[in-house]
Amino acid sequence: MAELTELDAVELRDRLASGELSSVELTRAYLDRIAAEDGAVGAYLHVEGRAALQRAGEIDTARLAGEELGPLAGLPVALKDVFVTEGVPTTSGSKILEGWRPPYDATVAGRLKDAGTVLLGKTNMDEFAMGSSTENSAYRVTRNPWDLARIPGGSSGGSSAAVAGGLAPWALGTDTGGSIRQPAAVTGLVGHKPTYGSVSRYGLIAFSSSLDQAGPMARTVLDAAVLHEAIGGHDPRDSTSIDAPLPPLAECARRGATGDLKGLRVGVVRELGGEGHTDGYEEGVLARVAEAVQLMEGMGAEVREVSCPSFDLALPAYYLIAPSEASSNLARFEGMRFGIRVADDGAHDLDEVMALTREQGFGPEVKRRIILGTYALSAGYYDAYYGQAQKVRTLITRDFTSAFEDVDVLVSPVTPTVAFPLGTRVDDPLAMYAADLCTLPASLAGLPAISVPCGLSEGLPVGLQIMAPALADDRCYSLAAAVEAALDSARGSRFLDQLTTAGGAA
């Protein structure tokens, strides 16, 4: 029998509900594994430990007493450290927030609490979610459980490493330009970036407000759908939150797994790894994606190539919009009310204390983006940079709109390469930014997009991206489930079982 920490979250949920498994037993299994392996993996910035066991115990007691419990009662979860959690250290991967214990819960953290989950801890991330390898964390290096010398992706790399490494059954990440999908792809997970506005941003430490979305990272499509349902839906505290009911995602994932794709129109985006656009893409990645597309065709889907010319401009547009918003969002970190304060010694004036706090509190990538964004918003440059980037954003949205007149979903690789070795791109920001090439268009257009494993290249996971129109997140789940089921059945095992049998992190 498989270890508890290798079971799907939905399986664990059912065992907890039937009383055959206690939350304390399960939570302890994860905490033990974290204690044994996280020294090498580096997924967590903070582990709840005793608090988690206490909460698990309370839930077990309540269950025994026959009390009504939330749908995910007793199930552990890990949160990216970008989510504000009441009384639990929250840093967003930055020194500037060291020691801060927030007085409130993010809406999604609160919803998970209400659903009965047990918080295992907060996962590592690139500082303020800026990065694609988690190497920009101010605290520690996180390693890919498939190969400890390689990156786990980023910025939600702590969450991806935790779930892939069996250190959490599932986790929440956030995605601004690909920060859920890319780490999910390179660690062999399912990661979904929901439609912008369909999951609350309240309590998510903002990087780029018009792009940030929280979403699930899980071992299977069904797990991801169940976690998404627990956090999604309208939140009156986020005015960009959409007041519409969530589609029945878990139901769609279950139905999708039956594999009938008849009538589904699938568009393959030429600009994302297609003919004439293969520079920087690894052959193995393109081959696995092409095979997945053939698989869909075999299941009845109508496949055609689609061109979205504006996608070529997504990278420059993103690197103007996101830093611009970040330069403003990060202004509140000046040492006055929370986090660290530097040089408050009576010898420095107010401006110097704020400047020195930011000088010492922020890392180089964060500073780079603040400077970039400040410049782009400056009087005299605004129209040429921020204004122009917003126009590109409109063009990208139009490309999607016209594509979706002909197809139901669009597919592409999630990221041009498999996990690259740690340290190889840290000093080359442009190479690092290229990891987000395929994920940026859906971010800029606010559309839902999922990453689902579609095979290995050189022994490392490759992710398939499925993009859908706004609010049609269910299409992502149902097609991803079809691909996952077909591949699992061909393989005779779940995708992540390959990691266990290969020895993985050990």
Binding site: F83, V84, T90, S92, L97, W100, P102, P103, Y104, A106, R201, Y202, G203, L204, I205, A206, S208, S209, S210, P236, R237, D238, S239, T240, S324, E325, S327, S328, L330, A331, R332, F333, E334, M336, R337, F338, L350, D351, M354, T374, L377, S378, A379, Y382, Y386
Partner: protein, 502 residues
């Protein structure tokens, strides 16, 4: 307190022989909503520091704003009352700068897409009407309040440490910006004051704010510039901040005109700068220079969805506006039989409400006008307080008028009753009874006084009987004196006539 008496000043009348002023006003009104602009915190004035705060108005990481619908509605109503065009699509913008009293490192405001634009307000000074063009009315949030502890000046320089109270942070603030107002000449200071007065009345009539300048719920920045008469270009303007009373609005314009004239006379250049107004000296002193102003890097606030007021709703708001002060004044002037000057005076004194409340409490318009414009105005003037701050209510004035009308007291006694009321001795009836200020009826005491007066002045009686009826006045006077004014003069006169003329 720093004073700046070092400025050279030109006599006001002389300024106008050489220069033409242009003024402009930016007025901030704190809305009277129950909760803040972007969170649910209370807005009660004077609460213990930092007791009306939450993650949103403290700018804690992760928090997000949600716009207060009531504040949006108030802003649109103010815009409508000022004849503005209401935008069908409007956005908030971030104004980025660092200061400890703005918790997010930016103020959520509006930039190039304000809610209301292109309105106007007509104000009257000395019988002449001046049209003030309104450029825009927009909605934003207030900042926290810094308290600099230690040091001599109460300013940040020299302070031992500073504290910040975030109770005020996030209170909805409406900013009303005029276009430059040229052509007011010598009346520029008064036009500025009349504008703020009228604006205050409008906001009050709309119920959008309590507009108390002394509590900072209405604050003015006053721009002033001078140009040589006949010049085609306007001069460089200064922006005077910290102008916290109607009187100060007028004084600050007057002072800046005199100061700038001296600078220009000496061949100098007026600096484009922010200046602070000092209530004690009526002077201004330089603040931060605008010529090295920060770039606020405005951009649309991505955390808030655009405001798109529905046209039908805006129409309904327009239709439901209450009677505005100017219309009300015109109506009341007619109803109360006031002259334009009296009306203007009442309006400028902020006393229209007092008169109308007095009428509502049962007094005739004539009586209400008589008391408020007469005795009470004199007393307010003598003691240097606003009419509205006198310790007498419209209901009490109405009661006083009724006592006179019913003949229980006469005007002279009524003034004494008023003394008692203002001294805090109670309502008119109470004071009248307590001090025995009742008109004497035809009592034995009065009969005795009348008879004593007749007996004591046979020569006067002789004159009256001889046909000089007006001589009776001397007898009335001596009876009134003997009764220490408590008698009713008409009654005394009748009693004397009965006895002397028969």
């Amino acid at each position: 307190m720093t004073t700046h008496t070092g400025d050279r000043l030109v006599e006001f009348a002389e300024v106008l022989t050489r220069y033409e002023p242009v003024i402009g006003l930016e007025t901030h009104v704190e809305l009277g909503t129950a909760s803040k602009m972007f969170c649910g915190c209370a807005t009660t004035f004077g609460a213990e520091p930092n007791t009306q705060t939450c993650p949103v108005c403290l700018g804690l990481p992760g928090s997000l704003p949600v716009a207060n619908a009531a504040a949006v509605e108030h802003t649109i109503r103010i815009g409508l009352a000022l004849g503005c065009r209401i935008a069908s699509w409007s956005r908030f913008a971030r104004k980025n700068y660092f200061y400890p009293d703005i918790p997010k490192g930016f103020q959520t405001s509006q930039y190039d897409e304000p809610l209301c634009t292109a309105g106007h307000l007509d104000v009257e000074v000395d019988g002449e009407t001046y049209r003030v063009e309104i450029e825009r009315v927009h909605l934003e949030e207030d900042t926290g309040k810094n308290l600099h502890v230690g040091g001599a000046t109460g300013r940040i320089h020299g302070a031992d440490h500073s504290l910040v109270d975030f109770n005020r942070a996030g209170i909805p603030l409406v900013e009303i910006v005029t276009r430059p107002i040229p052509g007011a000449g010598a009346k520029a200071p008064e036009v500025a004051r009349a504008y703020v007065t009228e604006l205050r009345e409008i906001v009050q009539a709309l119920g959008a704010s309590d507009v108390r300048m002394e509590q900072g719920s209405l604050r003015c920045d006053v721009n002033t510039s001078l140009a040589p008469i006949g010049s085609l270009e306007w001069g460089t303007r200064t922006e005077t901040k910290n102008v916290n009373s109607l009187r100060s609005v007028e004084r600050s314009v007057r002072y800046e005109m005199r100061r700038q004239a001296a600078v220009l006379d000496a061949g100098g250049r007026v600096l484009q700068e922010t200046r602070h107004f000092h209530e004690d000296t009526g002077s201004t002193s330089p603040g931060r220079s605008k010529e090295e102003a920060t770039d606020y890097r405005y951009f649309p606030e991505p955390d808030l969805v655009p405001l798109a007021p529905d046209a039908a709703w805006v129409e309904k708001l327009a239709a439901d506006l209450p009677e505005l002060p100017a219309a009300r004044r015109a109506r009341l002037m007619e109803e109360w039989g006031l002259s334009a000057t009296e009306m203007q005076w009442l309006a400028n004194a902020g006393a229209l409400g007092l008169v109308s409340d007095t009428v509502a409490a049962g007094a005739t318009p004539g009586d209400a006008r008589k008391w408020w414009l007469g005795d009470l105005a004199r007393r307010a003037n003598e003691t240097g307080v606003e009419l509205t701050d006198l310790a007498v209510t419209p209901a009490q004035v109405a009661e006083l008028a009724a006592l006179v009308r019913d003949g229980k007291i006469n005007d002279k006694l009524a003034r004494q009753v008023l003394d008692g009321v203002l001294a805090g001795d109670g309502g008119p009836d109470e004071v009248m009874t307590a001090r025995g200020l009742v008109v004497m009826g035809e009592s034995d005491e009065l009969v005795a006084a009348v008879e004593a007066a007749i007996a004591g002045a046979p020569d006067v009686v002789e004159k009256v009987r001889g046909g000089k009826v007006q001589a009776l006045g001397a007898l009335v006077g001596s009876v009134m004196k003997a009764t220490r004014g408590k008698a009713d003069a008409a009654t005394v006169k009748r009693m004397l006539e009965e006895r002397v003329i028969g």
